[in-house]
Amino acid sequence: MTDFWIIATGALVAISCGILGCFLVLRKMSLIGDAISHSVLPGIVIAFMISGSRDSLAMLLGASVVGLITVFLIQIFQQSGVQADASIGVVFTALFAVGVVLVSLNARQVDLDLDCVLFGEIAYVHWNTIDVLGIDYIPKAVWILGFTVAVIFVVIGLFYKQFKICAFDPAMALACGIPVALFHYLLMGLVSMTTVASFESVGAILVVGMLIVPAATAYLLTERLSVMIVYSVLIGITCAVLGYYSAAWLDASIAGMMVTVAGALFVLAFIFSPSHGMLARLIKQRKLAVLHSQVS
C-alpha cells in the first residue's frame, strides 16, 4: 500500500502541475512559477505561526495570498521600469529570505523543518493520514492534492476558452471584453495553491520541475493546446511512476528521481519529436539540401 500512496501522491502533483504548466510555458512565464514556489515560504510559515499547527487549509490560504502578492509586486516593478527578469529575481529571493528568517526565528517553538519545506518527503506521506467522513486510511497529502486537482479541473474546465485566448492574444481578449487581469490572477492563484499543496510531498523547489518540464516536453510533441495538456499530464504521471521505481531501485530521493526522469523525457522529446525534434529537423534539412543539389 505504501507504494500505491506514494505514486498516487506523485501522480496528483503531476496532474495539477501538468495542466497549469502548459499555460505558464505558453505565456512564457515559467520563471513566475519558480518565483511563486519560493516566495510562498513566508506564507507557509506565517500561516503555521498563526494556526499553530501544520493545518494544511490555513497554509493553502496563506501561501496562495503570498503567491498573488508575489505576482502583483513583480508586475508593479516591471511597470515602473525595472527589467522583467530583475524584478522576478528581486521579489522572490527577498520573500524567500524572509521565509528563511521566519523559520529560523521560530525553529525552537515550531516543528517546521526547512529541508522538508524545500525538498519535501514523499516517502512519508502514507504515515500522515487523517480521518475524513470516516475514511481514515487515505493520506492527508492525497486529500489535499485531490482537492487541488478538483479545483483546477473545475476552473480550467469552465474557463478554458478564456485561459486559451489570454495565453494566445491577451490584447485581443481585452479588446473584446474578457477580463484578462482576473484570469491572470486566477491562474497565478491556482499555481500558488498547487505549490503549497505539493510542498509536503515533492517540496517547494521540485514542484517547479513538475510545473515546467512535462509541459515543455508536451509542447514539443503536439500542435494542439488540448492535446498538449493531456500529454503534459500523462508525461507527469509517467515521471511519478518511473521516478518512484527507479528511486526504490537506486535507494535515492523519490521526488528528485521523479524530476530527473522528467528531464530525461524532455531530452528524448527534444531529440526524437516527429514535429519539433532535432533529428526531424536535421532530416528535413538534409532532404532540402539533396533536393537543391538535384535542381542546380
Binding site: K28, Y160, K164, D169, A171, A175, C176, G177, E223, R224
Partner: protein, 257 residues
C-alpha cells in the same frame, strides 16, 4: 440599437496618453463618419498604434473619453473588431487557423458557453472569405506572413463588428494578400461598416482610403482624403522627413519615413 445610429461610430474627446510622463498623444479630439475606410497616417513614433490601443482600453489614458455610437466604450465592446499587429502574438502557439478564427466568437459567447458547431461554421465561412479555407487545419506557425495576416482578418470578420481597428495589416504581406485585404475592406464598407487602419505606405493612401487622419502626437488633420492628403498637411505631419514630392498637389509620394 438602431436609434443610436445617428451618432458617430467613434467619438474621441481630449485623449492624452503618456509613457513615463512624456506625452505620446496630446489632446486628441475627433469623430469619424460611418461607413468609411479611414487611414491613420503619420511618421514612426507618431502614436498611431498607441492611439488605437488607448481607444480600446489596452493602454491607460491620462485623460480623455471614448464613445462608440454615442455610448461609453465598455457597453459597446461587441460592436468592435480588432486586428492587432501580426508580431504581437506568438505564432508557435499550439493551435490551427480555424481555432484562431473561432477566438473571434469568444466575446459573444459570454462567460460559460463553449464554442461549438455554430462558431465553427462561422469561422470556416470567414476563412473562406479571406481565401484561406484550404488552410483551416494548418498549424499557424506553418503559414506565411501574408497567410497569418489573413487569418487575423478572418478572426476580425468572425467578430461580426460594426467598427474595426486594424494595426498595420499591410506590413510584411505579399501582393496577393494586400489585394485580398483591400477587397475585403471594400466589402466591409459596402456593408456600412467603419474601418480604421493604421497605414505606413503613403503611395497607396489615395487608392485605398476615402478618409484620412494625419497624426503626429497631435491630430494634424481629419477629413476626406482629397481635402486632407495634401502636400502642405503632409509636410506638417512628417516635418522634414518626407523625401520626394509631387507634380500636382499630393500626387506622387515616395519613400516617406
Amino acid at each position: 440599437m438602431k436609434q443610436t445610429r445617428h451618432a458617430s461610430p467613434l467619438t474621441v474627446t481630449g485623449l492624452t496618453v503618456a509613457y513615463q510622463k512624456k506625452p505620446v498623444l496630446r489632446n486628441l479630439t475627433f469623430d469619424v463618419p460611418e461607413g468609411k475606410l479611414i487611414g491613420i497616417i503619420g511618421p514612426n513614433g507618431a502614436g498611431k498604434s498607441t492611439m488605437i490601443k488607448a481607444i480600446l482600453g489596452l493602454l491607460p489614458k491620462v485623460s480623455g473619453e471614448v464613445q462608440i455610437y454615442g455610448k461609453p466604450y465598455a457597453e459597446m465592446r461587441k460592436l468592435i473588431g480588432y486586428v492587432p499587429q501580426r508580431e504581437s502574438v506568438d505564432w508557435d502557439f499550439p493551435t490551427n487557423a480555424l481555432d484562431v478564427v473561432m477566438m473571434g466568437r469568444y466575446g459573444h459567447l459570454g462567460w460559460f458557453k463553449r464554442p461549438g458547431a455554430n462558431e465553427r461554421e462561422i469561422a470556416l465561412d470567414c476563412l473562406n472569405k479571406v481565401g484561406m479555407a484550404d488552410y483551416a487545419h494548418r498549424q499557424i506557425s506553418q503559414l506565411s506572413g501574408g497567410q497569418q495576416q489573413r487569418v487575423f482578418l478572418a478572426r476580425a470578420l468572425a467578430q461580426n463588428a460594426d467598427l474595426y481597428f486594424m494595426d498595420e495589416p499591410f506590413v510584411g504581406v505579399d501582393a496577393m494578400t494586400e489585394k485580398a485585404i483591400i477587397s475585403l475592406l471594400n466589402e466591409l464598407k459596402a456593408q456600412g461598416k467603419t474601418v480604421l487602419v493604421v497605414h505606413h505606405d503613403l503611395a497607396t493612401v489615395k487608392e485605398y482610403f476615402d478618409w484620412v487622419m494625419l497624426l503626429n502626437v497631435e491630430l494634424i488633420a481629419n477629413g476626406p482624403t482629397e481635402l486632407v492628403f495634401t502636400k502642405s498637411l503632409l509636410h506638417e505631419t512628417y516635418g522634414g522627413k518626407l523625401a520626394v514630392f509631387d507634380q500636382e498637389d499630393g500626387a506622387t509620394l515616395v519613400g516617406a519615413r
